[in-house]
């Protein structure tokens, strides 16, 4: 048997006490050295941290000096350090694919507490891995070329940053934005915490740069419909929704918007507290500087649908361009793009506070969301920056800001939305500054872990903002006793520090609604081949060591699409994603795991069973030779055809039948022995 000629080294990691605290590492080493000796194990060692430089050098040294031909590292999950140990082997001159990891941390020490049972399981896993590695073959990584163009999805601050970084490096970027303008949520804000910079002042220059950058190709009012291919070589289909505007002709003069007689509530940019026309600017500094027509509220379109004849057409009548920029007949378009990498920065949505009926949002006139208040504070917003009640005039004398609305609550979202504490402090400051009102913050915990954040909290305290520690129970417009004034909103709360139930009368309530994943994040994830956490955020490749890449090579995440975060973190992640993409582009080609299927033609009976199984259409039938053939460039290595071939004619490199059978035998080693004894 080949195993007799192979020289296997087994390394068992303590991982500090992570593994050694549960698994008897010495006993595992002894098992490998003694019991697996006849299976080719020539040495077994343990070490505190195998992944450390010293640990890796240990392996390298043994390969060189002891002539190891196979390596097994029993440590953490291969998803964490497989590359590390393969690298060590390669440096010592051993083909990296002759090393395997046995996961005894995630799959043993962290999930079991009985020492004996955990140690026994660790031994089985080591035994299985040894048997498997004996059947491993030396492989070469697959090299794929990287298309230098990059797709960035989402034109908020994270996507803008990513797009600009890649474009500045000199590569083409396709920037796709679902809305009619770049900017994202940040464009809605007035000031940004903790420095109180004007959001527009720092955002709009970036929007303008992206809009005019020769390397950035802007697709606003557009959505990605389909993604095919793999890292380095993606084909993306983009749907451009009709704006009913000739983008090439329109000068952005705005006469159409001025003349449009239809005014509707703007639920989008103005968050429901302002109006827009049926043909409208997304907002004043929109990029691109083009209006968009909403066919659902436009008199012409409604007329055309219901009475077979349009009306109005004021926009077209008054449009000064030749030819006319209004195109009532504009249709959806589809564009196909070729890119090498994708950065997803699709952002977040606001928690709908109507889901918490006791807070009265949507029912009580003077209960607002934090986003509505952002618009109210904004000088370009519907109130010109004045803090007023629903009547549009009266300034509130007392304002209550309710924290954790829909966040840290198992009835809604269990996670902390991370930004609302600071946003609420900022709003408290702005309300106080603009209206002089008494401001109360109702909080469970004030979370200010960013740079200069707690300093801002101290400043707001100094400004005289009140803080009540308690999750608000309800907001009501009905006084409880004869002593309570009518016409107020009563915030009922337990002041947990005083140990009292309090009812605090205010004129306005602001709900610090949390961040939620986009409603269609699961679908979007599916389109790009990545998955969402149970809370709906895109899952990064590794929570700590790789919060930028995803499980799908060549697809990166940035900004709140990956989880709630503030502006600096979004910008940093956008830039980081760009750096990762640039590194791929500069490499020119990428080494992929050599896990691929291939047909052994002599064994192929030409039954074609495999042909229809491949999701990538990598298998075709060669008529002349009456055999099936696999295109290695298209194959992604799932192995379905390998499993399906009735003649066993398809080989799966890295996951061959021989490897897997051997692993099964190894895992069941002690059971087999027991039954033999019986």
């Amino acid at each position: 048997m080949t195993s007799q000629q192979e020289r296997v080294g087994v390394y068992v990691c303590h991982c500090g006490s992570n593994i050694a605290g549960v698994v008897d590492v010495e006993s595992v080493v002894k098992f490998a050295a003694e019991e697996l000796k006849d299976r080719g194990v020539v040495l077994a060692r343990d070490y505190t941290f195998m992944c450390s430089v010293a640990g890796q050098e240990l392996i390298e040294q043994d390969i060189r000096e002891q002539g190891l031909t196979r390596v097994v590292v029993a440590a953490c999950s291969p998803h964490l350090h497989e590359k590390t140990f393969r690298g060590a082997c390669e440096r010592a001159g051993l083909n990296p694919y002759l090393a395997e990891m046995a996961s005894i941390r995630e799959h043993v020490a962290w999930v079991h507490s009985g020492h004996a049972a955990a140690t026994a399981k660790a031994k089985s896993i080591v035994s299985g891995t040894v048997e498997r590695v004996l059947k491993n073959e030396a492989l070469d990584a697959i090299k794929v070329p990287i298309d230098a163009a990059t797709l960035v999805v989402g034109g908020g601050i994270a996507g803008l940053q990513a797009a600009l970084e890649v474009a500045e490096a000199g590569y083409e970027v396709y920037l796709i934005e679902r809305e009619a303008s770049l900017g994202g949520h940040m464009a809605q804000f007035d000031k940004t915490f903790p420095t109180l910079d004007c959001a527009a002042c720092i955002l709009t220059p970036k929007m303008a740069s992206a809009g005019s950058h020769p390397k950035i190709h802007l697709f606003t009012w557009s959505e990605v419909e389909k993604v095919e291919g793999f890292v380095g070589n993606y084909t993306v289909s983009v749907k451009k929704k009709p704006r009913y505007i000739d983008e090439d002709v329109c000068t952005g003069c705005g006469i159409c918007v001025e003349k449009c007689p239809v005014l509707v509530v703007d639920d989008n940019f103005e968050a429901g507290i302002g109006y827009r026309k049926a043909i409208y600017w997304p907002f004043a500094q929109a990029v691109p500087n083009l209006p968009v027509l909403d066919p659902d509220t436009c008199t012409y379109f409604i007329g055309a649908k219901t009475k077979d004849k349009g009306g109005c057409k004021a926009c077209e009548i008054f449009c000064p361009t030749v030819p006319n920029s209004i195109l009532f007949g504009q249709k959806e378009e589809r564009v196909t793009l070729k890119v090498g990498n994708i950065i997803l920065a699709t952002g977040w949505e606001l928690f709908n506070a109507r889901r918490i009926p006791q807070y009265g949002y949507g029912r009580l006139a003077n209960v607002f969301s934090n986003l509505e208040l952002e618009r109210m504070c904004n000088a370009a917003g519907p109130t010109g920056g004045k803090i007023v009640l629903r009547d549009g005039q009266t300034a509130p004398k007392a304002v209550g800001i309710v924290h954790c609305v829909g966040s840290r609550d198992r009835n809604y979202n269990p996670y902390c939305s991370a930004i609302c504490c600071m946003q609420s402090l900022k709003l408290a400051h702005l309300v106080k500054e603009r209206s002089g009102a008494e401001v109360y913050n109702f909080y469970i915990d004030i979370r200010t872990p960013g740079k200069d954040y707690d300093e801002f909290y101290q400043r707001v305290i100094d400004e005289g903002v009140h803080f009540v520690r308690g999750k608000v129970a309800d907001v009501s417009d009905v006084p409880l006793g004869p002593g309570e004034e009518s016409g107020k909103l009563y915030i009922q709360v337990e002041d947990t520090l005083a140990g009292l139930q309090r009812r605090i009368p205010v004129d306005m309530v602001v709900l610090a609604s949390g961040l939620e994943p986009r409603h269609d994040s699961a679908e979007v994830g599916k389109t790009f081949g990545i998955s969402c956490s149970t809370n709906g955020w895109f899952i990064e490749k590794h929570a700590k060591l790789d919060p930028i890449a995803t499980m799908t090579d060549g697809v990166f995440v940035a900004g709140c699409a990956q989880g709630p975060k503030d502006i600096p973190a979004s910008v940093a992640q956008g830039a980081a994603a760009a750096a990762r993409v640039l590194s791929y582009i500069r490499q020119g080609e990428l080494a992929l795991e050599p896990v691929r299927a291939s047909v052994v033609e002599e064994q192929c009976s030409g039954c074609r069973l495999c042909n229809g199984l491949c999701p990538y259409n990598a298998i075709s039938f060669v008529e002349e030779r009456r055999v099936s053939e696999i295109n290695a460039a298209l194959c992604q290595g799932c192995g379905t055809c390998v499993a399906a071939c009735p003649a066993g004619a398809i080989q799966g490199s890295g996951y061959s039948n021989e490897q897997l059978f051997a692993q099964i035998e190894g895992l069941l080693r002690e059971v087999r022995h027991e039954t033999e004894v019986v």
Partner: protein, 192 residues
């Protein structure tokens, strides 16, 4: 910390005891002290300790303070705290557990509260049905003799409108019910 503040039984024991006495996955150990229970409670203003505070005291092992508190007795079973609790703690059920524990330990501070419950239970155990007139009269005689006169118009009004019985009604299967309740109490005594 003074010696008196340290619980004899150890904090965890009391928490486990309360949790074990409350059915299902009651999650009492997950309290984050947010106060949405105390804020939501219709009688929270009258409680010596809000539910939130009680839960902290339970975690701190303050058995006597907790079982002496009037708070569980002021619970009106409106379940606001339960449905609003961000940690899904079965707060109302915990209040029932505390009341039963307080009676068993003889630690309730104002006999009126458990007195009402116990009077009610007496009637149910004797007749299988509740009996409002008897309940109100006996309860008030025992605990609020002075207010009896004040409530008389209401009682008279009820009688006049045919909304109150003068005599209690007894169910037919009283023996069966007694057997069930006796067995249940024996089993309840056997398990914590």
């Amino acid at each position: 910390m003074s010696a008196a503040a340290v619980s004899v039984s150890g904090p965890k024991d009391f928490l486990s005891e309360v949790m074990a006495g409350t059915p299902g996955d009651n999650r009492l150990n997950h309290c984050i002290q947010c106060g949405s229970c105390g804020g939501s409670c219709p009688s929270g203003a009258e409680m010596e300790h809000t539910p939130r505070r009680l839960f902290a005291l339970i975690q701190a092992g303050q058995r006597e303070t907790v079982l002496k508190s009037n708070a569980p007795w002021y619970c009106v079973s409106c379940y606001y705290c339960t449905v609003r609790c961000p940690q899904n703690i079965h707060i109302t059920d915990v209040m029932y557990t505390l009341k039963a524990m307080a009676i068993r330990a003889g630690l309730y501070h104002d006999a009126a509260m458990p007195g009402f419950s116990e009077t009610f239970v007496d009637y149910v155990e004797k007749y299988g049905r509740s009996f409002e007139l008897g309940l109100a009269t006996r309860f008030n005689l025992r605990h609020h003799p002075l207010s009896l006169a004040g409530m008389a118009p209401l009682g008279l009004g009820m009688l006049k409108r045919g909304r109150m019985d003068l005599t209690p009604h007894r169910i037919a299967g009283m023996a069966q019910l007694s057997a069930i309740l006796d067995k249940a109490k024996a089993l309840e005594g056997a398990t914590p």
